[in-house]
């Protein structure tokens, strides 16, 4: 049974791109309605009076924590790179994001 999606097909495609995920055809078919279902679950919030209720981001009574800006031991370059699949001259190597333009 097809019901109206909460997330439009256009927004769904945007979401895939934005999250840098690759979905198989099967995943696209299964995930889209599941996201719709999860979003519909917030319907229960309509039963609550949220007027003047401030949002709660954190359950504790924490304040921002400052510390002196002192140098402490840290990883060596070798340690930092020890899990990097691609590296060059002591740097992490990433895929190119800029393309050369044909002249």
């Amino acid at each position: 049974m097809k019901t109206n999606p909460v997330i439009s097909d256009v927004d769904f495609d945007k979401l895939v791109k934005m999250t840098k995920l690759t979905l198989s055809t099967h995943e696209t078919k299964s995930i889209h309605p599941q996201l719709d279902e999860a979003l519909k679950a917030v319907k229960v919030f309509d039963e609550l009076d949220l007027k003047d209720v401030p949002p709660l981001a954190h359950p504790g009574n924490l304040k921002n924590v400052m510390r002196p800006d002192v140098i402490t031991p840290s990883f060596s370059q070798t340690e930092s790179l020890s899990n990097a699949p691609a590296q060059h001259d002591g740097y992490f190597m990433v895929k190119g994001v800029l393309k050369e333009q044909d002249s």
Binding site: I7, D11, L15, V16, M18, T19, K20, L21, T22, L23, E27, S30, I31, Q34, L35, E37, A38, L39, A41, V42, K43, V44, F45, L48, L50, V53, P54, P55, L56, A57, H58, P59, G60, L62, V65, R67, F75, E79, S80, S82, N83, A84, P85, A86, F92, M93, V94
Partner: protein, 472 residues
């Protein structure tokens, strides 16, 4: 010698200090137990046999020379396991995701470091739902863990490997982590003690992150006293985690008492669901009456319907996931994003949608407002009671495959836990009986940093009867 792997932590400590056996013998007994049972249970992603024997030899040497004792090294020579989302230096840490199946951390999580400093023998890394996304351990990229009580059943999750390993005597005790139910629910389904500390009581540094305002590491153990001892070791302020308040850590184990007379326990009618599996509510109410016999006053209370916490947790957790999993790009460590499983993809996408411009107010902001209402509701209840009692899970362990096509399986199975997690409270699962041969768990929840309150209640209950004889 009887099977040493069956010992509790307290018994193991006693035996080691009396030189009844060595750490190598104890560790070998656990490794044998793992070898015999892993083909059925699959509670581990990695077994660290060589490292464990090495650590055990070191403990034996130091215990023999007197360099270590139970005061300086309270876990000297004790074989235990860690959920595979705790970083272990130079030892593979995957969070049960293929994205990290080649990741060898450069440092220890604070919890790992504290356990090592206490002399523990880290015997392996437990299977879990991939990225801790789930309540079944069925979403592990390396295959599900099976319930030791009945291998055709799920162990719960996400700390299902840790719960199963403790329950089956593969280890003496274990460490898991909970965002909303991931310690208490598998403890309930596997019949062990599972303790979720107050948010911030135990450092999150070096724990693969799920939702930064919820994640709470905690112990899974065979007895309440064992859980209390472990909690005292892993708790405390950590300058690497700014959300750990600089409060003294009580000696929970030493302060344990069976004297609970005069304490008040709230029983919220809304948490005894009408559609819970037959027998669960009865067994848990019977256990409440047992606590009454021990001197507590039971108080009927009315709370917000736990159904609101399902949607609330779903939105808040997914938002956290989308943020925390954005760092996995395969550049500095691990594989690229094409290695994410379907569950992770679903959660990343939902969270990104709920946080995105135009939808933020309707989803994320409203969820945070509901979170405030849930928190206020608990504040109100704790002005008149010391703890709240309820079933941990509305069912006993479900069959393998139960999560198939159920994208909100975890949210529904953790309905009785999510509210207390969103409010940052401490909670404990205590096994209270058997239903159809499977364990039933009761949970006690208490206010921020009131760990001792529920440890004492759980201890008094545990010491007053044999829970496995409690059946309907």
């Amino acid at each position: 010698m009887s099977d040493l792997s069956k010992l509790t932590l307290a018994e193991s400590r006693h035996g080691l200090s009396q030189k009844d056996f060595s750490s190598v013998e104890l560790t070998t007994a656990c490794l044998d137990s793992i070898k015999h049972q892993e083909s059925t249970l699959h509670a581990f992603v990695t077994v660290l046999e060589d490292d464990a024997i090495e650590s055990a030899k070191l403990a034996d040497k130091n215990l023999a020379s007197g360099a270590w004792n139970l005061d300086t090294h309270p876990l000297a020579g004790i074989p235990l396991s860690l959920k595979d989302n705790f970083l272990t230096k130079d030892q593979k840490t995957t969070a049960s995701s293929k994205v990290l199946d080649n990741f060898y951390p450069q440092y220890d999580a604070t919890v790992t470091a504290k356990l090592r400093a206490a002399g523990a023998v880290i015997i392996g890394k437990n299977n879990m739902d991939a990225w801790a996304h789930g309540s079944s351990t069925e979403t592990s990229d390396f295959g599900p863990t099976h319930n030791p009580w009945d291998p055709t059943k799920l162990p719960g999750g996400s700390s299902g490997g840790s719960a199963a390993a403790v329950s089956s005597n593969e280890v003496i005790c274990a460490i898991g982590s909970e965002t909303a139910g991931s310690i208490r629910q598998p403890a309930s389904w596997c019949g062990v003690i599972g303790f979720k500390p107050t948010y911030g009581r135990v450092s999150r540094y070096g724990v693969v992150a799920m939702e930064a305002s919820l994640d709470s590491p905690g112990p899974l153990a065979k007895t309440v006293a064992d859980a209390a001892l472990l909690l005292g070791i892993i708790a405390g302020h950590d300058h690497h985690d700014a959300t750990t308040p600089n409060l003294p850590v009580p000696n929970y184990a030493k302060a344990l008492t069976k004297n609970i007379s005069g304490m008040r326990i709230g029983i919220p009618n809304e948490y005894f669901l009408s559609d819970a599996q037959d027998g669960i509510n009865d067994l848990v109410m019977r256990s409440a009456k047992q606590l009454e016999k021990l001197g507590v006053t039971l108080v009927e209370v009315s709370m917000m319907d736990p159904k609101y916490s399902i949607a609330d947790y779903t939105i808040i957790q997914r938002a956290g996931v989308s943020s925390n999993l954005s760092r996995y790009d395969g550049v500095r460590y691990g594989h690229d994003r094409s290695y994410f499983g379907e569950e992770a993809k679903r959660r990343i996408m939902l969270g990104s949608y709920a946080l995105s411009s135009g939808f933020y107010d309707a989803y994320y902001k409203r969820a945070q407002q509901v979170r405030m209402l849930l928190k206020r509701d608990f504040d109100r209840i704790f002005s008149s009671v010391d703890a709240i009692l309820a079933p941990t899970s509305p069912s006993t362990a479900l069959p393998l495959g139960a999560t198939k096509g159920q994208s909100m399986f975890g949210e529904l199975s953790d309905v009785l836990i999510e509210g207390s997690s969103l409010a940052g409270l401490t909670g404990v699962n205590i096994p209270v009986g058997l239903l159809g041969g499977l364990p039933v768990g009761m949970q006690l929840m208490a206010n921020h940093f009131a760990e001792q309150t529920i440890l004492n209640l759980a201890y008094a209950y545990e010491q007053s009867l044999s829970w496995k004889e409690n059946t309907l």
